[in-house]
């Protein structure tokens, strides 16, 4: 890749464009993509939680994994590996999801919420950066979940294959899965399956080629003064914002509504928006990547990331089964307790896995 920065900015631009267009085609507002929300919806569609408003197998997730898988196979970068602290990763994944559902979005949707004018996402961004900064302190102290090992092709292929099963369930056997009733909530709002799937595949390919990662962007900027990955997300923000303005002008329905109150699928509790994303940022840096990046790595055959995604899904099930997820009305008491527990657990995982540095 001759001009890596240019490629990343271009890819980010295309991704921002696609994200805005997905809303035009039916996705919930400011939710062209949201890895946390979409995994949560998929978890609900499988009946692993029973929040009727958020149940739908999101083809974007299927596309992201398959896109990354196809391009990594084509480029001989499909390299099955795993064995690096899977249970710890599962646990971190679950708490990252709980943090995301406190805020109501993953780092990717945080950017899209900003592009839609949602000022509450600024509090999320502050918390997210603080979480990453906390995590980098442990990285510098020698934090590690130990190395991964080469795995058989089958092991690496199971998670991508699982996505094909999900697609078959959605297209061929919808009677087996749960759907949000029309007008019944965010789960009912979605672009046509083929549009969502193709969008996911394109973004999956771009993200695999560029290693786009929100957490990685801020981490590299802090640790190495290397801003390439961060530019990718700035590009997403800028193009999604411009596209929102264009869509608003063309359709007469505003896609950009600056303010705090009444934002779509968002609440105005600044403290808990920040703490939710603090937990997500802190957890993600210990995992080595944001939820989007975990999906892409899972598509490349990384089973540690596949386990992390399963952890994210388990976190979504917990969040909705125990009333931890926020709603437009705000956070719940249970959710606040869970986020605090999450921050403590993530801090303990960070500290315990940083103690081996003296062995070096």
């Amino acid at each position: 890749m001759k001009n890596e920065k240019g490629t990343i900015v271009l890819a980010g631009g295309v991704i921002g464009l696609i994200a805005a267009i997905l809303v035009f085609f039916g996705n919930p507002a400011n939710m062209g993509f949201c890895i946390a929300c979409f995994l949560r919806d998929t978890t609900g569609a499988l009946g692993l939680h029973s929040a009727a408003a958020v149940q739908y197998i999101r083809p974007e997730i299927i596309g992201l994994v398959l896109g990354a898988c196809i391009i990594s196979l084509a480029k001989k970068e499909f390299r099955p590996r795993g064995g690096s602290a899977p249970v710890t990763r599962f646990t971190l994944g679950a708490f990252v999801m709980i943090g995301c559902l406190m805020f109501l979005g993953c780092p990717f949707r945080m950017i899209l919420r900003l592009a839609g004018g949602d000022g509450n996402a600024l509090f999320g961004l502050v918390g997210f950066v603080a979480g990453i900064l906390t995590g980098t302190v442990f990285l510098k102290k020698g934090y590690t979940l130990k190395r991964s090992y080469k795995m058989p092709k089958l092991e690496g292929g199971i998670y991508p294959a699982f996505q094909i099963v999900m697609l078959l369930l959605l297209v061929v056997a919808p009677a087996f899965i749960h759907f949000t009733e029309p007008e019944g909530g965010p789960g009912a709002k979605h672009a046509a399956i083929i549009i969502a799937l193709v969008a996911g595949i394109i973004v999956g390919i771009l993200a695999q080629r560029t290693r786009l990662c929100m957490v990685g962007g801020i981490r590299d900027a802090v640790l190495f003064k290397e801003y390439k990955l961060l530019f990718g997300f700035v590009a997403i923000l800028v193009t999604a914002l411009v596209m929102n303005l264009i869509l608003g002008a063309v359709t007469g329905t505003s896609y950009f509504n600056p303010g705090f109150a009444g934002q779509p699928i968002a609440h105005t509790d600044g403290l808990w928006n920040a703490l939710g994303m603090y937990l997500a940022g802190f957890g993600c840096i210990l995992l080595g990547g944001c939820p989007l990046r975990q999906l892409i790595l899972a598509g490349e055959g990384n089973t540690d990331s596949a386990v992390t995604v399963l952890g994210l899904m388990a976190g979504a099930a917990f969040a909705h089964n125990f009333g931890l997820a926020s709603s437009g009305e705000g956070p719940t008491a249970n959710g606040k307790i869970a986020v605090i527990i999450g921050i403590v657990v993530v801090a303990v995982i960070a500290a315990v896995n940083s103690m081996r540095k003296e062995e070096a």
Binding site: M1, E4, S72, K75, E77, R79, S84, L139, K140, G142, Y143, T144, L145, K146, R147, S148, K150, Q208, T210, R211, C213, G216, D220, L223, F224, E226, K228, L229, G288, G289, R293, L297, E300, R356, K357, A360
Partner: protein, 80 residues
């Protein structure tokens, strides 16, 4: 002086290797892995040496020599 890049299975492996380089008075810096070298997004160490470099640890994934025309692989753990 020859420049090498070593990639690792973990960020910690990179920090540890850089420390070992510095113990041998080699100039070494940690940085993000170049995309051409790997699809993973970890940390690598670029180091400069006339001849010797530190013993490979279990954490070392690959070592390449940096040439004007590109990277020349000299070690890859999975291929051992």
């Amino acid at each position: 002086m020859i420049t090498y890049i070593a990639t690792f299975y973990s960020h910690y492996g990179a920090i540890q290797f850089r420390r070992n380089c510095q113990a041998m008075n080699l100039r070494a810096e940690v940085m993000p892995v170049p995309r051409d070298l790997s699809s993973s997004c970890g940390t690598c160490v670029r180091f400069h040496t006339e001849a010797d470099f530190p013993e490979k640890t279990e954490e070392v994934e690959q070592i390449v020599r940096v040439e004007p025309q590109g990277y020349v692989g000299i070690y890859h753990a999975d291929e051992e």
